[in-house]
């Protein structure tokens, strides 16, 4: 039996449910030296901004137990270069391309959506809401449901109707389910979660924070249980909304965990730093997991843990 790995993400169908995570796959060229990028579900770009961004000073990354703490700061060449150079190259290699967008105001996000809609070949827009909102003293859009919904609405209105728009959520919010519902209400066709978790490490030699600027975002297997809980909770509340799950996916079994929690697809992020072929390996391992369990369609796993679990209360310690 060869299991059917095709999966629907709302209206959009993917050959298999494994993507790269935004900001963890370079321009695509770096990974293409290790595997054929047309063989994975989709390539997600680094969050693109209207203007070039230099990002944050080094040191930008520190290793933590089973995790990575980073503060790259959206370094990138801006939308022009993406449209002229990176997008055409990705398409020429047969990749399905999701463009992640980030901005400093709803207008900037709207402009990015318009520009991307004029270009051929953008399969989906992912709205990175973990970008500072200068209008609220640099708090991230995602930390205020109304601001987040405004951004999502602006992208949905300005993006071509046939391009699905997914909102990318962060776990560092008080009411994730409410935020998710507000984003869907504002027009999001689906959700991507989770972005990194706020964290910090201090270098014992220099006595300074290990990444410049102090705070960073935690990613990698360390946060997988946090991510799975987020996906589970949101899928329980909004079972019709397609979810791209991420946070510590490293193996096919990890991918399956997200599917069982309610994600329709998964993205592989910092695992690519360790293993540049992680995406194709995860596809292969996921196929093997399905074969071992006699599962014919990967789609049948989506949300399966909700059907076996009792009430998923929150434990008190």
């Amino acid at each position: 039996m060869i299991p059917d790995l095709r999966i629907g993400l709302g209206e959009w169908e993917l050959a298999n449910p494994v993507m790269t995570a935004a900001g963890c796959a370079g321009s695509g060229r770096e990974l293409a030296r290790f595997f054929d990028i047309a063989r994975i579900g989709a390539v997600v770009t680094k969050s693109v901004t209207l203007e070039p961004r230099a990002g944050r000073p080094a040191p930008r990354i520190a290793e933590t137990p089973s995790g990575v703490l980073s503060a790259v700061g959206l370094q990138g060449p801006g939308i022009d270069v993406l449209l002229q150079r990176d997008l055409p190259w990705l398409l020429s290699r047969g990749a399905r391309v999701v463009v992640s967008v980030a901005g400093g105001s709803a207008d900037e996000y709207a402009e990015l959506a318009r520009r991307l809609s004029e270009a051929p070949g953008v399969a989906m827009i992912e709205v990175n809401l973990s970008s500072p909102d200068p209008a609220r003293g640099g708090r991230h859009f995602v930390q205020d449901s109304a601001a987040a919904a405004r951004v999502v609405g602006a992208v949905r209105e300005n993006a071509r109707a046939d391009i699905p728009v997914f909102a990318k959520l962060s776990p560092d919010v008080s009411d994730l389910v409410g935020l998710a519902a507000d984003c869907v209400e504002a027009g999001a066709d689906g959700l991507a979660m989770i972005n990194t978790v706020r964290g910090m490490a201090i270098d014992a030699d220099t006595l300074r924070p290990a990444v410049a600027g102090g705070m960073g975002g935690l990613s990698g297997p360390a946060i997988r249980p946090i991510a799975v809980a987020c996906v589970y909770q949101v899928h329980a509340a909004l079972p019709e909304v397609p979810i791209v799950g991420m946070g510590g996916v490293r193996t096919g079994a990890d991918a399956m965990e997200f599917l069982l929690a309610g994600a329709s697809a998964v993205a592989v992020g910092s695992a690519l730093f360790h293993d540049p072929s992680a995406c194709v390996r995860v596809v292969r391992e996921l196929e093997r997991e399905l074969v071992d369990r006699g599962v014919e369609r990967v789609g049948s796993l989506v949300g399966a843990a909700h059907r076996t679990a009792g009430a998923a209360g929150v434990a008190a310690e």
Binding site: A54, G76, G78, L272
Partner: protein, 297 residues
């Protein structure tokens, strides 16, 4: 980004040796050995299958040999968790290695006089470079510095390959007491050097670059910035580098480097985002999208 495709392989450890303050590991890695050009490095996974350490450790390739289809040797000192783990490997263990990575040293077309300047473990990539230069008929002179005698790198090999080999140690326990830059001017003059190659800590590279500028000769430096992936996807290893268009960009040491033209690296601004770098807060959009397309990487 170099156009040689790196490979990822599970490589058996052939030997683990300890030489003075250094550990040397040789792995069987034909695909890496055959593609290698001097200046390139490997990125090694550490801690085993269930490791809590997710980022790769990068090491300059010190030597490749044709044995067993192709072997690769790297040398290292124990600094943190990852190198401590590597130092405990035994022969026949498997290492997950990616390589060769990074932009190699560009080689001169003509048989010119080359001075190779290295500091401590940073000297490793200069040895295959020296061999490659000799094969092209170049004159090679070494200037190797270290903190103390036990940290001087392969003095015997250096003497064997090179026309001259000059050593400096901070404590004077071997060679001249002082730093490489204290002797470099003299070596350049004596050897009529046409080009400088340098490897080592940033402050040393800055000084060596200044010396090359004084002599009006080109210099290629291999920089060492913290790396988490080595393959260009994590964006951790950035260094401010001036492009041909005069614009400073945050270049990735792992794919845009580690070898850069010395005068292009803004050594004084390493660890910062220079205000005038492309996309820095102070940067003004001066150019059209076309120019931006030349962005590093």
């Amino acid at each position: 980004m170099s156009d040689v495709r790196p490979v990822q392989m599970s490589s058996p450890v052939l030997t683990v040796r300890q030489v003075d303050a250094y550990h040397a590991i040789t792995v069987v890695a034909p695909g890496i050995a055959e593609r290698f050009r001097s200046g390139q490095f490997v990125a090694v996974a550490v801690g085993g299958e269930h490791s809590s350490m997710l980022t790769r450790r990068v090491f300059a390739i010190h030597e490749v040999k044709p044995d067993y289809g192709g072997t690769v040797e790297f040398l290292f000192t124990v600094r943190g968790r990852g190198t401590a783990w590597l130092a405990e490997r035994r022969s026949r263990d498997l290492l997950d290695v990616i390589g060769p990575l990074g932009r190699p040293f560009p080689l001169p077309r003509d048989p010119v006089n080359c001075v190779l300047v290295g500091g401590g473990a940073g000297s490793a990539p200069l040895f295959p470079l020296a061999h490659a230069l000799r094969r092209r008929g170049c004159r090679v002179d070494f200037v190797l510095g270290a903190a103390t005698a036990s940290r001087v790198f392969s003095a015997i090999t250096a003497r064997r390959i090179a026309e001259t080999a000059t050593f400096t140690t901070d404590d004077g326990s071997f060679g001249t007491r002082g730093r490489v830059t204290d002797v470099l001017d003299q070596v350049i003059d004596d050897a009529c050097s046409d080009v400088v190659y340098a490897c080592g800590p940033m402050p040393m590279l800055r000084e060596v670059t200044a010396a090359a500028a004084r002599h009006g000769i080109p210099i290629q430096v291999s920089v060492e910035e913290t790396m988490a992936c080595g393959t260009g996807v994590c964006m951790s290893c950035v260094v401010p580098v001036v492009g041909e268009d005069g614009i400073t960009r945050m270049a990735r040491a792992c794919v845009d480097g580690p070898v850069f033209r010395g005068e292009r690296v803004r050594f004084d601004d390493v660890g910062t985002i220079p205000f005038d770098a492309l996309g820095a807060p102070g940067w003004k959009a001066r150019a059209s999208g076309e120019d931006r397309a030349r962005e590093a990487g």
